[in-house]
Subunit: 428 residues, 2 copies
């Protein structure tokens, strides 16, 4: 039990159980990586942290359906649900069955797939929505209501007292049906701190499995996140789920900060698709967490399935995988500058914090540019089975750089320059 | 002068001068935004923070040239330099003139443009490279050397003593030429803390303008960043520049954390292009900082030029702007879910932390999906100049959702459904 909790022991498992200081990072799962061993900062991993025990609530089929381009037919939804299950996510969250007749049918079908992952649906905090959700056979119901003054004024118009009254009724009903229940505020970071802590405390007492903190507008920072979750960790005994939008580019870092502060569950979607520019991307979170908690992440998730999962979703919503996507972006493991390439060839950990082979991927050292160095060219010369002295390699490197100053070079252009030099100079 | 500095007063301006508690966030530049006023977290803005006074070192023409797809001819470089200057960045960093003959010529040409921004070049820490740099007429020389055990073993093979000796010689030379000088370690987060602090202290005494902290492999977290920069802030009196790679999706948040800890300069590139999946993107940093420091950012930077700047660079390196790019992604200001759309129509701040008009952009409320709500449809009905009762709008909304369950709808499909309903039902 977390030393900072208030002692309520209710429906939710205590999320913030003390984790031992990251053994995982020191025991050689990925020893070459270097950060944990040689960094003076490993002590920031403290006892409320869940970085070595977090769970993923995968919301491609809910938040993702709010992405501008998303139109998932039933077949696509089932395919995505199975692929997420194969990847190893803990929960799959689907669109509210109240949204449309097809949403209702699809929710039922996903529940009937018999996945390892639990199926959740995300509904407004009212009795009608909750009843429909339970009807579909979900493992859990995610209740949400806006608590910021903005949403109270411009959206539902309810007071905090009314919100709490409704919440307790709906929670009691869902629990009575033997189904997991989460209660989340919306726009938590712009809500009054005292208001939402009182509300969370009340729903914790009522026995929710999780409370949810949502950065609905994407304005939170890692520090704000740490402060709010850390405070909440001292108020509730149940698990804490966090949901971060990416409007200001902080959704991955905020997820990490939340886990450091004692949150237990992180919402993701594949490639981050969701309202506006979306939420914490599953792949980017994996990139972050495989560095922070290598043993936990490599054992738990089927990392080699990430690329095909992302391709499935990208095709379904007709988008390109961003060029700069962590891990699967086309050049995430491409090394170009001379001083980088030299070191990478000697030891990949010099310029890689993630081993691409964990994700079934490979690295590539570019030798086609004006910033190419002779060590990379030497490696290519050897790959081509040619023999040259270092002086000769330096000379042909100068030729490559000269050509690359004039026009873009492809790898076969560079190979041609090397072969022709070899023919002219070395074999003379 | 920063209260935590060691009292050395040398070449560098004291970066960590106390900033007043963020007046900017309370004085109404973007009052609707809400986060600063209603959040209980504004107190995390503390006196060493530079979030209201940071400078940008824009490295599209250096780090960006290390992007796999980058081949900039002279004309493109000049175009990008001018566009960056028009945006208002403080510094433009270009590829080392030692890299190739054309790099040398281009560096000179950019220096001769007479830009408001200062021109820097980024070179290895040795006398030959520094001489070439000064020869080109740059305003400043950015020296870099690897200090992690990885790089010392697998790259240059130098001891810390040797690194310091060379650094001091090169710094003295650059200063003697009347040119700004920065000294940066490479892979700072995997370097020995005592080693690099000793080195930074020595170069600070030698009068560098800035020291640089580089997360070369992209493995740092906001907490690690805060800790290292905060510690360094107490050791050196000069400015602190930070450079973050994005391998684990934290480059924007790390930049913010660095500024909170007293860093003064952040390296960016347009769309984040650079080695592997790149560094802190200029646009994403603007998204973050316009929320954190609205007055400073809106006054200083020409935000309306962001989109064309990104398009220029994307075209130059033949990439698409990522679908989920902050601010300029195609759906960054598109609202789709019913409960979101309803509130957005009443007050955009409910679901927007950034006002799109600051960047010359507009929002869009989607009404073409199964998760559409009737309030959004009502707004569209009014836009179309039609008159319906709320009951009628709800009825036509159900029809739209029914159709959207079957196939993707375009805006004109939805308009047709509305018009045909109006004709059939309302005008009867």
């Amino acid at each position: 039990m977390c030393g900072t909790c208030n002692g309520d022991t209710n429906g939710g498992a205590p999320a913030a159980a003390a984790n031992p200081p990251s053994q995982a990072t020191a025991n050689g799962v990925y020893p070459a990586q270097g950060l944990p061993k040689s960094s003076p900062y490993q002590s920031v991993q403290d006892y409320i942290s869940n970085v070595n025990s977090f769970k993923i609530i995968e919301s491609t089929l809910r938040e993702g359906e709010q992405f501008a381009n998303a139109f998932f037919d039933t077949e696509t939804k089932l395919k995505i649900a199975k692929a997420l299950d194969n990847f190893g996510v803990d929960y799959i969250e689907v669109t509210s069955p109240v949204s449309s007749p097809q949403s209702y049918e699809d929710c039922k079908k996903i529940c009937q797939l018999g996945l390892k992952a639990k199926v959740l649906t995300h509904v407004r905090c009212n009795m009608d929505d909750a009843r429909k959700a339970v009807e579909c056979g979900v493992d859990g119901v995610d209740l949400v209501i806006g608590t910021s003054s903005f949403l109270r004024e411009y959206s539902h118009g309810k007071s905090m007292e009314m919100i709490q009254k409704i919440a307790l009724e709906v929670i009691e009903y869902v629990k009575s049906q033997g189904v997991e229940v989460r209660f989340s505020s919306e726009d938590s970071f712009r809500s009054d701190l005292v208001d939402i802590l009182a509300l969370y405390k009340a729903v914790d007492r009522a026995g929710v499995n999780r409370v949810g903190v949502a950065d609905t507008v994407g304005g939170a920072t890692p520090r704000m996140t740490y402060d709010l979750v850390r405070t909440l960790r001292g108020v509730v005994g149940c698990d804490i789920e966090c949901h971060f939008h990416d409007d200001t580019g902080c959704s991955v870092a905020n997820a990490l900060s939340a886990l450091e502060a004692g949150a237990s569950h992180i919402d993701t979607s594949v490639l981050g698709i969701g309202e506006r520019n979306g939420i914490t991307p599953l792949g980017a979170l994996m990139a972050r967490m495989v560095v922070t908690a290598p043993e936990y992440v490599t054992k738990k998730y089927n990392l080699k399935a990430l690329k095909s999962l992302e391709e499935l979703v990208a095709d379904s919503v007709q988008i390109n995988i961003p060029f700069n996507n962590p891990i699967t972006g086309f050049c995430a493991f491409t090394h170009k500058a001379g001083i980088h390439a030299k070191a990478i060839l000697a030891n990949p950990s010099t310029y890689e914090i993630i081993d691409p082979s964990l994700f079934g991927l490979t690295r590539y050292v570019s030798i086609n540019s004006r910033i190419t160095g002779w060590n990379a060219v030497k490696s290519r010369v050897e790959q081509l089975g040619l023999k040259m002295t270092d002086e000769q390699v330096k000379e042909v490197t100068a030729k490559i750089k000269q050509m690359a100053d004039i026009r873009p070079l492809a790898i076969d252009d560079t190979d041609s320059i090397i072969r022709s030099y070899h023919l002219d100079v070395v074999q003379q």
